[in-house]
Symmetry: C2
């Protein structure tokens, strides 16, 4: 096995430096050519390992497995799972977190989409389920699934993020955990369904109406209030998730989708939309998702998941395998629209290089960013920072906690300052290749 | 239950007609407003069905199910499966076809992506698998999966279609079967991996090279030749399919992806790329995928899957549920780039309305098209016709078979005229609501 240590310094110099500590210009590999090819040489097995004829591998000497009607992934991938906060399903909330460090691309497979479920996932018979629209409308309506299936539909990529995602980063000291444990309460999917505006238009909204209160068909009937303007803008009654009917944990057979807004508001198993002139001040909006500020004041509502990014590769648990070339990669997203720019630092924020954004960049959806990096084997602190098209930028952690506070050891306070963390995340690369969570 | 029959004719007149037999302007529902809302009224249950308080459904009276680490879909969806041509896995080719009529959105879930497997799906240990690049190169290279994971990656949506998809439509009489049986050998996914040009650049391609011969790690080592220009253009060594590692039937742990080109060339379980100065004239390219023309001549190669579309909703097996509003929806794609336009007819091609294209429209990927339609309960013949940005248009079936021939009852000829069907597909709506396959 050759290593990159053998390559001449000139080869690396030929690659345009984009920032300190080894960050390479993102366009380097798009330009192709000998310089980059030479620089990355060495990740392959040496020439001596190749000899004709190629030996048959054991799996090509026996008949393969049957392609089943509904295919399962390889048994070698069984470690790629969501982590559960409540693995025995005790009577309390379940958090199933997405393993971002083991995925790639721009959205989340259905089986690995995050789920928060307050009383388990109800087993809803789609033929019996109904969606009611009532309240301040000319004509209350009751929809069957068959009826909804005849309406004009739209598809869109959208992330859904729990307002409490990344809550561990409010703690006074950086918690050593994987990107899954720290940031696993956000996922992205293509949702297909009926624009809510179509259904509200049909019901005929009263001019006095200002809100809708959405109620789930789960045992606690989790409910949230949504301003009518959002309901008439890009809200959707979603029936399909990544091409197939939505998953039990994500609201089967239908959910409210509010692109870019706090996950808890995207009512799963939705059975009722009451059109009203005021918010319902339901349990979750009045208590859990009204973040309390250090001075004692609180947000009344905090709907939008603001611009954010984190690096998935490398990240804690994915140890580096020797010095040389790596691709730094992660996801960025904003509840305010498209991602405009992501920059990456390898020196803890002293210098920054612009990352490549995977096209197409879609509004309120994951954008995969990538930046080529040469790790010299020494210490490094990796960070990413995202801007959205509305001009918002990720704050530093110091800026965020200055306004919002940090988690103390008093449990009630802990609960209230753990919402809407969107500041910069820092991974430290140790000399041996271990990746640790630090505050940059 | 109200039905649309009760609505006034004026309400429908307010909707702008876009073509004969009930096709409505695609922008009607985007404009919203009372006219459209009134026109679709009636798919909901009548007002009398709603009364406060809403009764609790049985599933909200018991604790829900545990969210598992790797979530499964609802048991109510178990009918949504691929159909198998060889369900007992006998020693011959397996075809697992995508149920397009039961899906929606713009791509195919991994468990339902079509598969053709000539000797089953090999059970490959990713730690043991190697990819070799050799032949007319400066430096043969052998890649482990770990090595490939460090290279710069890209993600892209791409359809993969078997050259034999839609082969039943070469038959003299229209075969009565579902869209799954007729067109189920095409699917679309987001693929993430390493651009093949990066790896070929690193190996150093000899100026004399013109082809690569790709060889699979399956028992028959299925092999195909690819012009070097395509390999250096948008070819990819794909490691991820829709965010997770690719499925066993689609080449786990890695496949060659040639966006827009014949499925069989997208070598699964790829283990070797030999750079050469001529094509390998392998079994599949010399025999199966060299379509024979009526005069006895044959295509030597036929790489590109040309512009195509078909309607998935409604389609055979999805019976109509009474007259009134329906959304006509389907998929369009082209191996030559983006879809430029799709038109839909409800009168067997006499008049056409432009369909709405789900944005973003991506090159060499599924584009979902949608057209609002009022079915009056009478006979109708639904068709779709797609154009791509290169100016290609789907031919009529008569035009296609005039050049390519039809399937006779002589089996050897049957095999050879069954490739690359991309002509217009026609569904007849019978008076009772049944949907049949016809030649329009």
């Amino acid at each position: 096995m050759k290593t990159t240590d053998n390559r001449s310094k000139q080869e690396w110099k030929d690659l345009e430096a984009a920032a300190g500590n080894g960050l390479v210009d993102r366009r380097a590999f798009l330009r192709g050519g000998a310089a980059f090819a030479a620089a990355i040489t060495g990740y392959s097995v040496a020439k001596s390992a190749f000899a004709e004829p190629l030996a048959d591998d054991p799996w090509s000497k026996v008949p393969g497995a049957l392609s089943p009607p509904y295919e399962k992934r390889s048994h070698y991938e069984e470690k790629v799972v969501r982590s559960l906060s409540n693995p025995n399903g005790e009577p309390r909330t379940q958090h199933a977190r997405t393993p971002h460090h083991l995925l790639n691309g721009t959205f989340t497979p259905n089986s690995l989409h995050f789920v928060i479920s307050h009383a388990g996932d109800p087993d809803i018979d789609p033929d019996q389920h109904r969606l009611v629209i009532h309240g301040l409308v000319k004509q209350p309506l009751v929809f069957t699934l068959d009826a909804l299936a005849r309406y004009p539909m739209v598809s869109r990529m959208a992330f859904v993020e729990c307002g409490g995602n990344s809550a561990p980063l409010f703690s006074l000291e950086p918690i050593q955990a994987s990107v899954q444990a720290l940031h696993g309460l956000v996922s992205c999917a293509e949702w297909t369904g009926v624009p809510l505006s179509t259904l509200l238009d049909e019901a005929g909204v009263d001019p006095k109406a200002k809100w809708i209160v959405a109620e789930g068909g789960d045992p606690p009937h989790v409910s949230r209030s949504v301003p009518l303007a959002k309901a008439m803008d890009d809200a959707m009654i979603a029936l399909y998730q990544n091409g197939e009917r939505i998953m039990p944990g994500n609201g089967y057979p239908l959910r409210l989708l509010l692109p870019g807004w706090e996950g808890n508001m995207n009512t799963k198993w939705v059975r009722r939309l009451q059109v009203t002139d005021q918010p319902g001040m339901t349990f979750y909006e009045a208590r859990t998702y009204a973040p309390v500020l250090p001075g004692g004041k609180a947000y009344r509502f905090y709907f939008i998941q603001e611009v954010k990014s984190f690096i998935t590769h490398p990240s804690p648990g994915l140890a580096m395998k020797g010095p040389g070339f790596y691709e730094i990669s992660g996801v960025a997203y904003s509840g305010n629209g498209r991602i405009a720019k992501v920059t990456v630092s390898a020196d803890g924020g002293k210098s920054w290089a612009q990352a490549a954004l995977q096209q197409p960049v879609l509004s309120k959806a994951f954008t995969r960013f990538r930046a080529p990096w040469r790790w010299d084997g020494g210490p490094a602190v990796l960070q990413s920072r995202a801007w959205d098209e509305a001009g918002n930028v990720q704050p530093t952690r110091a800026q965020l906690v200055a306004g919002r506070g940090e988690t103390t050891k008093v449990p009630p306070v802990t609960a209230f300052v753990s919402q809407h963390y969107n500041a910069i995340v820092s991974w430290s690369i140790e000399r041996g290749g271990e990746v640790k969570h630090v505050y940059g």
